[in-house]
């Protein structure tokens, strides 16, 4: 691939997938971080252009996920105090902020999941990826992904069905 060709290939990749990658990041990162995370993701794609396979979107989302994780780690190192404060709040997860439109019950169920389980559910529900593509985005085998997804759905369903786990009742219980 010569340099002009390479640039063309990249511009096509960017045109085809930029909005999907941006959507993925917006759903998971604070607004102020979106531009940097998306840029970092495509920078990786630019450097690795020759190794991209067909259907690069799951791979791009996987890159975005790792960029996001790196950023959040750096963020946490910078804000150790914030980190400790967050540790005081039961059930809150420093990696994940539930969206405003999500019901409290569902949000409470989601923060209780491990990051991997949560990501499995969201790749399916928000990014609309199916098994094999979702597994590529999550960076695991399709079998492992199916297991994660199943476990996550079961745990969320169970916590939605159990009023004792709902945030309002549990907060009330602890403060008394």
């Amino acid at each position: 691939m010569d340099d002009v060709d390479r640039r063309g290939t990249f511009e096509e990749l960017f045109a085809a997938h930029h909005w999907a990658v941006r959507g993925y990041v917006v759903r998971r990162a604070p607004a102020a971080a979106v531009e940097d995370v998306v840029a970092e993701t495509f920078l990786v794609a630019w450097r690795r252009l020759e190794t991209l396979r067909d259907d690069p979107l799951p791979w791009l989302l996987g890159v975005a996920r790792r960029v996001l994780a790196n950023q959040q780690r750096a963020e946490r190192r910078r804000g150790a105090l914030t980190d400790r404060l967050q540790g005081l709040l039961p059930g809150s997860s420093p990696e994940w902020e539930p969206p405003a439109a999500m019901s409290d019950e569902l949000a409470a169920a989601m923060v209780r999941l491990s990051p991997q389980e949560r990501e499995a559910l969201l790749l399916v529900a928000w990014e609309g990826l199916d098994g094999a593509r979702a597994a590529r985005a999550a960076g695991c085998s399709p079998t492992a992904f199916r297991a994660r997804l199943h476990r996550a759905r079961r745990r969320v369903a169970a916590s939605l069905a159990d009023p004792a786990l709902h945030p309002h009742s549990s907060v009330a219980g602890e403060s008394s």
């Binding site: 511009e11 593509r133 939605l160």
Partner: protein, 453 residues
Amino acid sequence: MITHEQVIAQLAEANPVHASQAHTAQEHAEADRILRRVLSEGPPARRGSRRSRTGVLVPVASLLVVLVVAAALLRTGGTATPAGSHPGGGLRITFRAEPSPQVPRITTAVMERTMTIMRRRLRTLGVARGFAVTRSGDRDIVVTGPRVSAAGRARLVREVGQTAQLFFYDWEANVLTPNGTTVASQLRAQDRNAMRISQGGRFGAGTQGAGGLPLYQAAQLAARQPTVPLSATQSRKGPQYYLFGAPRSAACAAAAKAAGTIPARGQHCLLGGPDSLKRDLDAGLPAGVTTSDGELVTVPQGTVVLQAANPSASDQINPASPSAQFFVLRDHVALVGNDITNPRAGTDASGEPDVTFGFNGTGQNRFDALTRRIAHRGARVSGGPGAAFDQHFAVALDNQLITVPQIDFRQYPDGVIGGGGADVTGSYTRQSAADVAAELRFGALPVNLKLLR
């Protein structure tokens, strides 16, 4: 107990960003910043065995510089000479702007628009150097320039004085890939060229850098298309002729000299055309060049070659410039300028610059049908989330694309219908919206130009 499907459905409902959401101008600006940021990194460092390839970079880069300089020269070459700089013997053609049914009054704005389009036509004809278009009195426009033959004068009168007409095309259904198939037919297979032409470059579909070809390659591709019997949906009757000089030929050197530029290395150059009459080719040739010095390329009836849309009114790429890019389309017009009314630049409900226009009765029906077809194709060729390939329509004036807007098939699954006119938004700055509106206005509201002398 809640089922697993219900868990997914509840989560999907809380999705903070839906894939179908329209993008704001700020988001487009952000995308542009990101693309620039990544590309400014330059090519990644090559590893070990591939290091020798960096040698390629130098000639490529210097060629680009040459092209940019050549383009700049061509542009400055196009600036108008003051009127009266050709005392005696020079060319002087006077046109009078006459009211038309669509333009009952000739105002200053109408005169300005008309002169702008005449200047562009002169550039298209490759004779801009030394020519000037000036206003004389309320309604007269004078074209002056160096001495030309009688045939050359007749050609200028015909080409510069014709009534401007806007043409709307279904973009993907008509634009051709380099192998001659329509882009629409190759989208499901995600053919690389088709995707590039459909989904565009940095400035969107139909612009420079969005899969267009140099003029010679575009004309060759067009020449390979069959002649289509004349029908009411064609923009042009009969063939169109181009004359090209071979790379490094004496003819190209003469053409470059006449235009005040240097010949582009390794590229064919345009000696004459596009002309709808073969004899006009002769008349437009640079001094010392005859038709036998070049290669005649004939674009058959039913096919058009359109120049890529300019990045902006202040950044107009000369069609004869080696960096100019062109698209080849099947000449199947969906809508003409007479069908649209009152094009205006303004802002949409969210304050973004936009271009609006209305339609007459037939225009509305045609636009409904056009956008419905485009929206349906968008839904058909798009894959899962993240693979939404919005489809476009193209607006052309005088062999050049003006704008190629997309139809968001998720927002308008059955096209832009309802009789409220059209509102093109999202990809404009205030200035580019005004430019596009001005061009639409010119094409939609043509004046008749009467030759005085």
